[in-house]
């Protein structure tokens, strides 16, 4: 009888090992994603083409398109942003150095300059340092992230595309989206009214915030995220060079009209580690100094 027990225990033990190993062996898409994220975190400079669009029942109502160059080492960067909101397009150029931000919008020919005090700069610097977690903490965070995503990891598909790049994709339908995500999105959409009132007063020179804010339909009923598609492109050096998220939300407004909202966020990285930030030359330009409005933060 002992032999029988030993035999059954042995066989089931071996099968158990086989099961665990075969399950953990095939999450390569997720592993590639993690490696790429970690590697991409180490870059010093990049050029990024970022866009965001929002459509309501198939009609595009909001589009942001921007080209950004950034050098993380000396904290300088510039970006050219164009916002198309309900048919009208506003263009804004940002230039930033360690202690100076310059904004130029297409509405006028003035250059708005904001200087940051030393105090704030230091504060900012400190904050930046804190973002770099210690290796141990990084590991803990990674473990928790692994655990939270464990049911999604093998859903990630990897596909080889041109130039030795690999495309990773995670496509989630309604019942696959975590409840927390559903709650946050629906809460945000339902309570967007209150946020609008607070933000609308903010302005930066001639630039009205309202020009840049999308006019979302006010959803009140049956709000749910019906689909989320996440894509990532990893190049042959294992940098995450492309990211794309498409979020499908459906719901009804006060009148009972059904809305299908599609939010698409995309980002492409280029010229990793060898992007040159061009700075704006303010000589001979109309310069307006802007005071920091949030003085309360400084003392």
């Amino acid at each position: 009888m002992n032999k029988k027990v030993l035999a059954v225990a042995g066989i089931s033990g071996l099968l158990m090992v086989g099961g665990v190993l075969s399950a953990s062996a095939s999450t390569s898409g997720y592993d590639l994603f993690k490696t790429a994220v970690k590697k991409t975190h180490t870059i010093n400079s990049f050029t990024a083409h970022t866009s965001a669009s929002l459509s309501d029942n198939g009609k595009e109502m909001y589009l942001v398109d921007s080209l950004n160059t950034a050098n993380l080492k000396d904290e300088s960067g510039n970006s050219n942003v164009s916002v198309t909101n309900g048919g009208t397009t506003t263009k804004v150029d940002y230039f930033s150095k360690a202690n100076q931000t310059v904004v130029k919008s297409s509405k006028d020919d003035k250059y708005y300059v904001k200087e940051e005090s030393e105090h704030k700069k230091e504060f900012k610097h400190k904050e930046h340092k804190d973002e770099n977690l210690s290796p141990k903490m990084q590991k803990d965070v990674e473990a928790i992230f692994d655990a939270l995503t464990k049911n999604y990891q093998d859903k990630i598909t990897a596909k080889d595309i041109a130039n030795g790049n690999t495309e990773l994709q995670l496509d989630l339908s309604k019942n696959q989206i975590p409840t927390v995500g559903q709650a946050v999105v629906s809460f945000f959409l339902k309570n967007i009214d209150q946020r609008k009132n607070h933000m609308e007063k903010a302005e930066f020179g001639s630039l009205q915030f309202a020009d840049l804010k999308p006019q979302l339909p006010q959803l009140t009923n049956n709000i749910n995220v019906s689909r989320v598609v996440l894509k990532g492109v990893v190049d042959k050096n294992e940098y995450l060079v492309g990211q794309e998220a498409t979020i499908y939300v459906s719901g009804e407004d006060v009148n009972g009209t059904h809305h299908d909202l599609v939010l698409k966020l995309a980002n492409k990285f280029d010229q990793l580690n060898n992007s040159k930030v061009t700075n704006v030359d303010l000589t001979g330009k109309k310069v307006v100094k802007v005071q920091d409005k949030h003085t309360g933060h400084e003392d």
């Binding site: 066989i11 089931s12 099968l15 399950a23 655990a147 990891q153 093998d154 696959q176 409840t179 749910n224």
Partner: protein, 244 residues
Amino acid sequence: MPNLQNEWNKLLRKKSSIVLFCLSALFPLLVGPAIQMMQNKFGFTAFDGESFPLVILSLAVSFYLPLLLALCVSDMFAGEQEQKTLSFLLVRPLSRFKLFTSKIVCTGIYLLTLLMLVCLSSLITGAIWLENFTFSGLLISLSAFLLSWFPLMAIGILLVFLALWFGSSSKALTFSILLYLVMVVLTYLFPGIAQWLPAYDNDWYQRWINSGFTMVTMGRTIYLVSFSALFFTVGYYKFSRKEF
């Protein structure tokens, strides 16, 4: 299996089992309208009629059902040993293998009944109180509840093995709960270790909904089945050598 009927009758004749059955059935019925009120007040939709059973399931598999399992198992093994009633059936023509198997099968049926009760009442709640109740949602929920039986049963068999080492149900229960909590914590802090423990798969219905039948779900299925077989075998071995 005549003793399966014995075990099932014993379980049903306990007041605590009836109370727990009622609680399991009432839980979604009470939570449903409460959630609906909260959603209206704070303006969010975490779930609707279609996904409500799944939310209830995720709550049930993480704490409620493992706790009920631990209660049932510690009482059925350590508790009966403590009260010297285990041998009441053992001195009849009933082999230890049959007694052990019938107790485990009974635990399995108990677990399935609990799952189906929670499933049914959350489906009803979803259909009555929440918007967007669909037939496909019903099918998904039903399969998710059925799938959840496997990891929970693997935990149940592990707890049986542990209960055999204790001479009192309260000790066995305390230890089972502690062990379960450790397994849950490990899942979040050391997934590499936790993938060898069945609590890792508690919410594996989500994995099935996400990916269907893949290499990973197959691997985890083999793992759960062989884990159960392993602990069933060593559990039986321990049980067959026990003296009363």
